[in-house]
Symmetry: none
Subunit: 198 residues, 4 copies
DNA sequence: GATGAATGAGACTTCATTCAT
DNA sequence: GATGAATGAAGTCTCATTCAT
């Protein structure tokens, strides 16, 4: 049954999030789902391969969730709100994978580990970012044409800035754990609107 | 002579940046500076202790470099320029420690590892950030009183936004490695000025 | 098969007896039975755990052998003979475990190491001694009622004295290696009888 | 000055008693008296040599204390009392060396270690025991001639028995730690007297 | 007389991986 | 499909010992 493979991946993902690549032993994963170490090798040729599988399913979810709700007709406020609703996105991912990253920091850390260890992961993340950047730029350019966004603004830079702000906010909040991301997100939407809008 | 201890720390830091905590063996560090494994234990009681020492010296440099150049009389442009001149700061640190983080991503990763493993590191990083935030807020409030910054802007949120943008930019650029940070920094200074200034 | 585990324990026990806890490396045990160091960790989580396992099986044997042959109907001579037939008891243990403590001193030393390192071992040894003491006291009191043992004698003290003499004899003989325990045992039986009997 | 050498030996002895040979590092001894590891090598060529020195001074004290108070004119009661006053003897040793063995077990353990590691130590201990045995036998034979001790008793065996009982008592009390050695000693004197005397 | 740096061997332990069953 | 035994490499750490100063 494929069930076991999925169980392995999900348990592995949870452990990789909770701890880190090196600290998670195949043994612990196996025990966590009631099989033995050797059993994992039926589905994966190596720990690396299992790790990559975890990365894949996370990225799939990220891609699905990240900007799925936006369409060409979205208002500027809708776009920004979607962008700055960090928690919603991450929670959606966590829920649909039935995992639990108690702190977004853990999620970032996992991505970082992936990048550090596997060039493919860096590739995938670049794709996601540039996809977002392109998508946003298109939306913004359109809104600029419609006169919603000030003429002076370079939509490409704007996209980059906003993405950077989103990531930076999550990053800094991951460091501190004392920030109410919901509130910050709303503040950022408003201040961004004010600055962008005609 | 203390030379050896310093050599150990510097080599360790370089390796920790290049790879990661777990992947760096004391053996490799020792060999890297021409001593034996046991010799490290003359100066450090454990690998953890050595790692923390690395963190300390990095943080000291960061604190020294981060906002040292700003004074109460700095113009808004100067403040923003200092803030967005990422490369200068990081390069200064790298140079003064005689190390080389080929990609700023590596620097972030090191911080993340520190946070994940040692609560003290999180504490130290929080201190750095809140120090920056407080410092910026004071400067901005002063500039607002002088009529340089728009009345409507909440200087506290502005500080947070800018810091988040700085960090996010470095982060995203660390992912991609295809971004000219120098240019981006200048762009961000201009667009920020435009948005903030009366 | 459990064979390997047993082989490990037995070889470990033999080595612990021949040398001492610290001097015996897991490596040597492993090599001694033709497996590799890591293999031991398949069965034991630590050297300590393996050591404790050795203690357990020794204690089980001791308990089985120590006073098993005595019943309520035993004569005083039989009781004393059983008590002072050190060699038989220890040889029985050695044989049934297929080990070889060339000198009873080694056996004592092992017990001492156990006590020094693990409080549980002290507990177990105390249990064995107090069990013996209680058992002997019951037997002696009964014999006293029957008029075999002098009325003046405190059976509790007598038990302690005899046990102490047994242990002391083994101990001193362990130091010297020049004593014929068989003869000494017989002498002690006779001198004790004379002293105790009405 | 010789002072340092003595300090080293005494501190080493204390540590060897508190822990065990292998657990005591030269470093800890050195630190314990405010010098450095290397300094110990001025006075001793190796850890073994230092250990043997500890053994020597202990044995000297033991020999001095063990039967020093007895003379040809001692009564039987005096001889037995001296023999069974364990605590006095050991405390005398501890005091005169300014050390502290909280439990006589620790003292025994140290002797055992010595025996296990160094044949010379076994030799020395045998000497002590046979010296005691000879001395006692002489005294007992004399008392037997004087009609104090029953004719039937073999004075040689008696000496062995008593020594064994002394050692056994200390041994068992070392295991259990719940025995009042003072009381036991007195009991044993009385019961021995009764059994030996005409 | 003593320090302090450094060595080098060896210990316990962990773990990904293999493979017969 | 899965187990369980076993390997082997690597890692952290300890410590007696040496030696230049």
């Amino acid at each position: 049954m494929k069930e076991t493979k999925e169980k392995i991946v999900l348990k592995a993902l949870q452990y990789f999030i909770d701890h880190d690549y090196q600290s998670v032993s195949l043994n612990s994963i196996a025990k966590g789902i009631g099989i033995t170490k050797g059993g994992i090798y039926h589905y994966f040729n190596s720990k690396d391969e299992l790790f990559m599988e975890c990365m894949f399913i996370v990225f799939k979810k990220v891609q699905e969730s990240s900007m799925g709700s936006l369409s060409e007709d979205s208002s500027l406020r809708e776009v920004l709100t979607a962008l700055f609703s960090f928690e919603d996105i991450l929670e959606m991912i966590a829920e649909s994978l039935n995992i639990n990253f108690q702190n977004y920091f853990n999620f970032y850390y996992l991505m970082f580990e992936g990048i550090k260890k596997f060039p493919e992961v860096r590739e995938m993340i670049i794709n996601i970012y540039s996809g977002m950047q392109r998508g946003l730029t298109v939306l913004f350019t359109d809104l600029q044409t419609k006169g919603v966004i000030r003429k002076k603004i370079d939509c490409n830079i704007l996209s980059f800035e906003l993405i950077a702000m989103v990531e930076g906010t999550l990053l800094v909040s991951g460091f501190t754990t004392e920030i109410d991301l919901g509130l910050v997100g709303k503040d950022l939407v408003e201040s961004s609107l004010e600055r962008i809008c005609v």
